[in-house]
Subunit: 584 residues, 2 copies
Amino acid sequence: MGKSPQARGLTGALMIRSLILLSLLAGAVVGGRNQSYNFDVEYIFGAPDCKEHVVMGINGQFPGPTIRANAGDTVVVHLTNNLHTEGVVIHWHGIRQLGSPWADGTASISQCAINPGEVFTYRFLVDKPGTYFYHGHYGMQRSAGLYGLLIVDVAEGEREPFHYDGELNLLLSDWWQQSVHEQEVGLSSAPMRWIGEPQSLLLNGRGQYNCSLAAHYSNSSSNQCNLKGGEKCAPMILNVKPNKTYRLRIASTTALASLNLAIGNHKMLVVEADGNYVEPFTVDDLDIYSGESYSVLITTDQNPNNNYWVSVGVRGREPKTPQGLTLLNYLPNSASKLPVSPPPVTPKWNDYNHSKSLTKSVLARKGSPKPPSSSDRRMILLNTQNKLNGHTKWAINNVSLTLPATPYLGSVKFLLNHTFDQTSPPESYPANYDIMKPPANINTTTSSGVYRLQFNTTVDIILQNTNAMAPNVSEIHPWHLHGHDFWVLGYGEGKFSEKDEGKLNLENPPLRNTAVVFPYGWTALRFVADNRGVWAFHCHIEPHLHMGMGVVFDIEGRFVKGIPSEALACGATGKLMAMDGKYP
Amino acid sequence: MGKSPQARGLTGALMIRSLILLSLLAGAVVGGRNQSYNFDVEYIFGAPDCKEHVVMGINGQFPGPTIRANAGDTVVVHLTNNLHTEGVVIHWHGIRQLGSPWADGTASISQCAINPGEVFTYRFLVDKPGTYFYHGHYGMQRSAGLYGLLIVDVAEGEREPFHYDGELNLLLSDWWQQSVHEQEVGLSSAPMRWIGEPQSLLLNGRGQYNCSLAAHYSNSSSNQCNLKGGEKCAPMILNVKPNKTYRLRIASTTALASLNLAIGNHKMLVVEADGNYVEPFTVDDLDIYSGESYSVLITTDQNPNNNYWVSVGVRGREPKTPQGLTLLNYLPNSASKLPVSPPPVTPKWNDYNHSKSLTKSVLARKGSPKPPSSSDRRMILLNTQNKLNGHTKWAINNVSLTLPATPYLGSVKFLLNHTFDQTSPPESYPANYDIMKPPANINTTTSSGVYRLQFNTTVDIILQNTNAMAPNVSEIHPWHLHGHDFWVLGYGEGKFSEKDEGKLNLENPPLRNTAVVFPYGWTALRFVADNRGVWAFHCHIEPHLHMGMGVVFDIEGRFVKGIPSEALACGATGKLMAMDGKYP
């Protein structure tokens, strides 16, 4: 087994980062090659769930092409915006953008949206092997279908710390019949029109809306799908040979749905989460929240005359969406040979104990870097649902995030203080707040303010969940951090308090980039702010972010060097030169 | 009757323009006030034709608010883009933008699209009284509902050259059930998916999709509308008193449909076209092409106990769209009192003789400025429908227009020659081209090239129509010029040739900004290129422009002064400053 990057000490990792940064600035690449892609983003007609829709595609494909590289490589994506009137960006989810914060692909934060007709080149190091993905990060373009996988293999000559014979990939998403534009308008309206539950779950961009692949088992009225295999929505079959071990890479880019995945008759050995190795553990089914990725090993040791269902169902919200299905097809069986047993049953949607148990099983693989033993700063982020002038918003410590027109990175770099609110949002919430009740909704505001973090300090974040606006409702929120991984120090019930301090796991907390906060609970995170730039930290549920559920960290963006001009050719930074008389 | 601005000689008008230009540059306004508006552009839920749709609205309204000013005023519109991911601009159709070419509101031509969250201030002189309108000019946002009226009254103290007691306004448009995004994707697809005929015609933004206001007269199966009056799609009734004269201002911002308007039992006296007075003439019905505006006088001298239908129907394409209807409501009759006779019948769609006769009746009012007796340059613009890599395009002299990412005005001002094709398109077409046959489709290209016109030269344009791709089909195209009015010197059949020269009308040709070219015919235009800037000249049918049916004139844009920085904070001009190291 090769020595994983995680096995190196923290100091070593920092040294390597600095070297990489220096070499990137010097235009050279250490030890890796360039992996170059041309991405043309445009709307195409697709049929993700057998019903025709306009879908945001890349190079005519939906989902977009899978990017593949080795650790140490530099990925170069020349992105052409072929949309008609919409800007676009792509976020490389889980890639930390060491020394390249302008390539993080967050509109209004790390760069200007790329205008129609423009080309923007993303160029970034993929320093760490793992299962990643990419997606739109402007408005709700992720929901429109702008996503794909990004897989980083170990550096050439190195080996994964586990063995497998083959690899299978599953990119999970959810799909609505209503256009994303209508969804956005509805969410922004007063009163809000909620998007409801997805009509379909997609596996690698394919689902079935008005039929079931497994209808012959059910007593329901759904029809057996009559797919001839050539349809755009025909399931992408997972082909395996008997008695082999496969690495199944799973990533969820759902807009809303928390998912549970299971494979008939097969157990799964979880070995990786969010691009970090975890201490292997076995499960029958796996919860995957939006923004998370996993690798599991499966062994094809079941009756080789049969095929088996791979099923995906909804967690944490009362499901109104049929299971997403595909087949684990034992070769040389025909893919048209349906399994003899029905698809695995998704655990009851509100069986939170099952979910918590699974989530808490994710722990760092032995030898992984440990967190600093203490933090320099702690923020407690209470998420509340609020009404503001008739609009429904999500707020963090009573502040609902609105993004400015000029990207923060340019604004902080060039001290354009007028472009966003210079007041930072509160770092905690009133001690007497009752998280078991709907929010009192006093003085909720919207703001573009950011938290300013000192470089190389250790920051603790307590995500504090609470009751939503309706009584007895508290939702799951998966929070995703840009530019960094964090250690998940623990999950708890109720309000986080000093007495929970001692329960935090400083021994083998997993490194992740996405962590869920359960209903009425808290989640404790720690990270070292060692990557200069301006970074989003937000609920990965697309409509929740649209409604303001996020915060922004400025980690000394003032001192970022090398920002390409293309990244800031809009708003106040684009205007700097355009003042009359200053033109050449 | 007051002395109209048109009654001044050409030299006088030019002198006044120069004065106005100078005073605008100096920040002062001659003789006029500022008329200021705040426009918030956002998507709203509307029901233009009784079926709910997402509509592009302004300040929560669809159509947008009516702008009203006096000649000599400066209109100031602070436009805030509240869309989520789309840029936006607004074109002030018919306003020449004397000395303010950056305020013409054409994305990629006169300015950068305004990004979400940005505010752009349009500030322009309205020098000439008339009936104008405004609309989106980016992608197909006009089709999405971004439009409204702009009415300029005579300067204070002056009088119109005709009398009326009251005023009525009709903004005409057409409406599709399919979203504009889907329309755009379909038009851009290979093979193209055509948008088809509109589902509804709208009068002041209101139509009825699945019922008819006048069903009780017809033998068709359509239901009588059961509107209670509170619906968003309930017709906007035109209230009049008996025995008065009304000025009915009519403007068409249709995406596709050519229209014919008639009022039961009432004749119309045409007095204005496109913001220019015409020699009054009487009609029973009036053709209005997209991009045109008219004022007609009607006298309410019919039986005052009755109400009368105002009807709008489709011309020039086999209609599949029900008539648009509203009522001329003689007060004090109730608006619920339906007329005793059925709505006027729209002339047969392909009765081109009727259309040509109407169009040729539009002549300049006596005393209007005459065209120069000769031109410095003549271009013949042949419009063909072509296939290009499987896509269906419209081309002018074999070149289909594609717009660059950096607005031309900035590119020519700052000599950024790499941003668009420096080769100008051809000024004519092969002499042996057979306009009666489908195009041979040889060497059709797309290009962002422009025609360069010398300031103050007189330019003739011959619009030459031809057969489309299908045999025996030739369509109507209404061409609209930005930044200038032109004189319409004549219309003819077949190919324009030297022998047509003598038939051109140099005595009383009408000044207009939009002129139609009839199937298999030609239209001759003349204008003085006396307004520096970069200006579009294009077919006003929205999908035709989308498919490349337009050209661009650069009238010494290099020498335009005073461009506000906001207009160019994108693309290559936005990047000028953003080069690392050049920042402050």
